[in-house]
């Protein structure tokens, strides 16, 4: 504020002209200024502005390109991601398949082993039963043989001692009678 007051004060000191005159330049100065402005304006309009515009456009283009690049990279990344996901899914599917196959194989193996074990157990049981039956038959037959031998030995002794002459003669008679038939 002190500075403005000083300018007003200075103006007041230089002349006695109106306040507008104080603001307007002198006419020749004004004309020269207009001409100079025109020249400068022409130069700016003719060369500077297009150059600035070109520079801006180039910059804009560059930015656009970069955005496109970014988009492209992003798209690539997404595609890669999709690929990876697909591969991952495939790998998971394969893994599941393998696990399933292994499980099925294990089940089959288990069933096989179980069947074999059962068959073997059956076989052992059957053989044991057969052996037992054979052993039983053998013992029974042996016992029967022993009984037969004992009874007949006893019978032989008893018969040998108890046959009297009359019985002997009767046996001889019967033999001759059988022959004569």
């Amino acid at each position: 504020m002190a500075f403005l007051a000083n300018i007003v004060l200075a103006a007041n000191v230089e002349g006695e002209s109106s306040p507008v005159d104080l603001l307007l330049p002198a006419t020749p100065e004004l004309i020269a200024g207009i001409i100079a402005f025109g020249i400068v304006f022409f130069f700016v309009w003719r060369w500077a502005l297009p150059a600035v515009n070109r520079s801006l456009e180039a910059q804009q283009k560059a930015i656009g390109g970069k955005i496109e690049d970014a988009d492209r990279v992003k798209a690539e990344a997404e595609s890669l991601l999709a690929d990876y996901q697909a591969q991952l899914a495939e790998a998971r599917a394969t893994q599941n398949e393998m696990v399933e196959a292994a499980r099925r194989q294990a089940e089959a193996l288990k069933a096989d082993i179980l069947a074999k074990a059962t068959a073997e157990a059956d076989q052992i049981m059957t053989k044991a039963r057969e052996d037992a039956a054979a052993e039983r038959g053998r013992v029974l037959s042996e016992a029967r043989g022993d009984v037969a031998n004992l009874s007949i030995d006893l019978a032989e002794r008893v018969v040998g001692e108890s046959l009297d002459r009359q019985t002997h003669l009767g046996l001889v008679e019967r033999y001759i009678a059988e022959l004569e038939k």
Partner: protein, 176 residues
Amino acid sequence: MTDRIDGYAAAVFEIARAEGELGRVEREFLAVARSIETSPELRERLVDARLPVERKHAIVHELVGGRASELTVNLVAFIIGQGRASELPVMARRLAQQVAREAGGELAEVRAAIPLDDATIERLTAALSKAVGRQVVVRTILDPTVMGGIVARVGDVVIDGSVQSRLQSLRAAMKN
């Protein structure tokens, strides 16, 4: 072996006939044969090459001595001395067969547990001749192992009516 046995049997036959003791020698040979067949111990001792001949003669004398004729004892002792004791039963059978042939029939070896009288032997001869279809000459052998009844053998045919064989078939039946 058959030739040798036949030869011995023929020799015994001729000697016994020449001595006029054919019937007795034949019977006594059958008795000796029977003893050898039924006693494995006796057969073993008579066959044993280590046993001196004198001991064997002593056994024969002991075996048939008192009961048998001198001719039989001498003939048996000779056969055993020749080391043919194991063939003596077959020789005795051949001798009996020869005697039977001489008598106009085939030998029928009859084993019984009791001695048979002449009437029974006669009926048995007729019955066996009819049964085998040829004339037979019965020679009886006392054999307690038949237990009762009779076992007759004519050639290869055996007609077994003994208690022993019935008991044996009973034994076999009981075992099955």
